[in-house]
Assembly symmetry: C2
Homo-oligomer: 125 residues x 2
DNA sequence: TCGGTGTTTAAGTGATTACCTAATTACCTA
DNA sequence: TAGGTAATTAGGTAATCACTTAAACACCGA
């Protein structure tokens, strides 16, 4: 097994692990909550916390690697957006494994996603 | 502010933080998945992992403090059970904050919980 | 081209985490 | 009561995490 295989086999680099690890920080959860209401630049996000800008930048990087946010550079600004699918898919995926009641919820979720695709202006997604 | 107030104000000791922190470990998520299928003793759980028994005991303690599992001593054995409500309530609670589509899911979840209360033998909860 | 702003990278530090082994506690049975 | 099993607590260590400041990079407008 070559080093790359070892790395990719490590749980640390599996998608679900990255999502749960990202969510384990209160600051990162708060960033996601802010982004749920509106896209924000890195500076706007940093202004909402008392820690340094580089620290916020690191948190944003963790969220992006986990697939929970996306970023787009516009001029000198970097705009961050929520990627809600990764969040709901991962949490639903795990909860379903632990908790059978989640199965009907998942079907309901799929139905809602379908409805959402038809009327994309309907909610925050 | 006395030391106790400082402690209890710290995010580290808030319920949601404890749940997400508990879920950030792959081993702890796996323990919950095992307990979803059947109650198990500490020894039975430890046998499923390659790490030492004290290490598993620590993981179980983290899960219990987070309210995700409960334990009951029977003779020399300690039986662990899943506490599914804490898991679904916390995840739903947060996802709802980030992702508006979770609201109808939460209503659906409440309806299912109600149905479950009437027929407790119906599923793993 | 040059100073100013927005953002990330680099390097280092203190705190926390996960793990181990050894010791301890609790209980059961002969 | 003594020996054995189940489980946790104690003590110590290596690795990881979150944070800081300083430096670098990228872009804008005068």
């Amino acid at each position: 097994m070559n080093p790359w295989q070892v790395l990719s086999k490590s749980l640390k680099y599996q998608p679900m692990q990255r999502v749960f690890e990202a969510l384990s920080s209160p600051i990162r959860r708060k960033i996601l909550a802010y982004l749920a209401h509106a896209d924000l630049t890195a500076g706007e996000i940093a202004a909402k916390f008392e820690i340094s800008k580089p620290a916020v930048s690191q948190h944003l990087s963790v969220l992006e690697v986990a697939g929970l946010v996306t970023s787009e550079k516009k001029g000198q600004y970097v705009h961050y957006s929520l990627a809600p699918d990764q969040l709901t898919n991962t949490l639903n995926g795990y909860v379903q494994e632990v908790c059978p009641v989640a199965k009907p919820l998942k079907r309901e979720s799929a139905a809602l996603a379908k409805a959402r695709a038809n009327k994309p202006q309907d909610n925050g997604l």
